[in-house]
Amino acid sequence: MMGFFKYSVAAAIAGIVALSVAPPAGAAQPLKLGVCYDLSKAYTFATPQVSQAAQDLVALTNLKGGIGGAPIEVIVQDHGNEPQRGIECYEKLKREGVFIFDTLSTPVSIAMLPRVMQDKNILIQALVGRGDAVDGGVFGWVFPLGPTYWGQVANNVAYLKQVHAGNLRGVKIGFVYLDYPFGQEPIPILQTLAKVEGFELKLYPVPLPGKDQTSVWTQVRRDQPDHIISWLLAGAHVVASKEMKRNGIPMDKYISVNWLNEVDIANIGAEAAKGLKRGTNVAGGQDIPVIQEIIAELYKKGKGSGPEKNLKDVYYNTGLAMYSMVLEGARQAAKLHGTPISSATMREGLQNIASYDAGGLMAPVTVTSSDHGGGGKTRIEMWDGEKWIPQTEWIAAYTDIIWEVVRKSSSNYHN
């Protein structure tokens, strides 16, 4: 026992010594990405896949010589979804030369925002955080790089309009959502669109954590909406599917937010989930050049950053999409101003991403200095029992309505 104790103390001291030993000075300064993720609490349904995707994509890029001759380094750290620890991660990595941060957590990205704006560092907040951050004129250093929930729900309505041959008058749409900011966010857009398009909107709040939805779905049965748009997460989809079955509501009425993956499908049952739809900004499946390349160059050679089964998860594709955009921004920055990349040149690089779809991985994205979201295109996919079948092209509908809401909301922000 004593021996073990001595060994652990020695190991701890060795660890602290290792901390203080600086890495050997390389030829080119690496570009560091600070990945402060919640790997232990609320967001663990997606963070392992997304961070693994980031590491794999960076490993692949480094194999090809990095960006502008400089290697890229990913630093992953857990913040347990606590704003306090997210700030600790930010402050620590900032001093290690990181100026690109990603949190994949709404509470943490909100807590980091004032510091990022103050320090002029870049905050990537794809699919999380405040929606109005797509307004690059106000949030100059924040890059949501992807659709807002406002845009995503508007695209869902556009799809339904397509289904009903261009006329939503008299159609009843139910909105089932987790009753906190994530789920509440699309409501104003839905209410505006209900006025514009003349459909009837029914709201069904689901109390957190979404494990009990019995009363919600009996209400849905009473109202019999023609379509159900769902803003639920992870396990809550599975609960919803059970309640739908119990209440005799067919699965093909259900359109999920992008947060529904292969694990949820497996839990619902691949056969039972037939007809289920989801809005998404990335293509699902592995039939995508970059994923094939990652499998061939990394996983076949035993150099993957995690278990290979994670690659079959759509959140892996989501992570690849996010970091493809980040690396594309870095490429543009290197092209414009060379290396080493600074936060100012990185920002310019990100704002120069044009019609980029990472080889068919995601909706084409064009970032400008006023639109940090990249256009907000998504599409609807349907689960056919084995795979996802796209139902629409990549669309971005009602953009004027969405930007009105964005500008109204972002005008309240003063740095």
């Binding site: 060795a14 590491q55 704003p83 620890r85 700030i87 509470p107 807590a111 929606g131 009753d179």
Partner: protein
Amino acid sequence: MFYPLAGVRHQSYVSDSKLFPVPTDRNLLIVLTVAAIAAPFLLSSLYLNSYVQPWLIWTALALGLNLATGWAGQLHLGYAATMAVGAYAAVHAARFGIPWEFALLIGGLAASLIGSLFAFAALRVKGLYLAIVTLAMQFVMDWVLNHSPAISGGSHASLQSPRFALLGQEIASGRGLYYVALGWCALVTVFMMNLQRTALGRALVAVREKDYAAAILGVNSFYYKLIAFSMCSFIGGIGGALLVATFFFLAAPEQFSVNVSIQVLAMIIVGGLGSIIGTYFGVALILLMPGIANEIIANLTSFLGLPLGNETLAHIPTTVYGALIIIFLLVEPLGLGKLYANIRDYFLVWPFDQFKK
């Protein structure tokens, strides 16, 4: 030897109830105060503003909860709700143009008012029932924040706090914000130390030990419980406001959710109910340990070259942290404060206790 007791004799009640009956304690505190004042010049800005400053703010907060739970014996599971009331009231007041000194006071008073209102209902019950009623206060507050954009502020509910200023002097530097936190924490600490030796403090303890026995002695237990709740909420309100004004720079509902309430309660239980020094230790363990454990484990695995996945790497520190709490509470169920007191008791008589054996 370390705690010379020779010549320490008390001949009156006043001298017996001095703040520091043993001079060494006072000297120790002076050294610590000097160290705290010198800290900005000794520590890097990372440690100063990401570790020590939040530690002080949370210690002041935890001391407030310790007043209700540790001294008056009232279990409180809705402390984060009072912090939220204080924070939102103060930030709204400051945004309205009221100077921060008064905004903080408004935050404290608003929290105190709402805390006492709830206490009126909550104090009809005791023990676990009280815990559940205070938990209800937490959920009511969560609901109100999530459903009233007028309070929580627009998109994704985050309300920016104006730049912090005291006496017309804007405080934005890391050192300045640290001193604000230090000043508030010192104020609360001195208040709590003095509370112990007043009639009010003794009444609170009497209520904690047995409320109807206290009533027989002429201590109106309902009144003192109410006092405990309103004081606890006042400290919590100002603490919540300072947390937002000097650390987060914006208020969001997640900063005051139910797990924050549980966390503060964990701080005082691990630290020691009714112990001031213990609260400092408890906050350090609960607040800072996850980050530090993360750092040590990450360095250790990279040093030993262990190929661990991101997830495993994140879960090991959480496990270590949980194990530490269990070990500390197994070694000393009364918390870290008692652990410190044991060591102090040992040195009070050292080395002369050896003669007895």
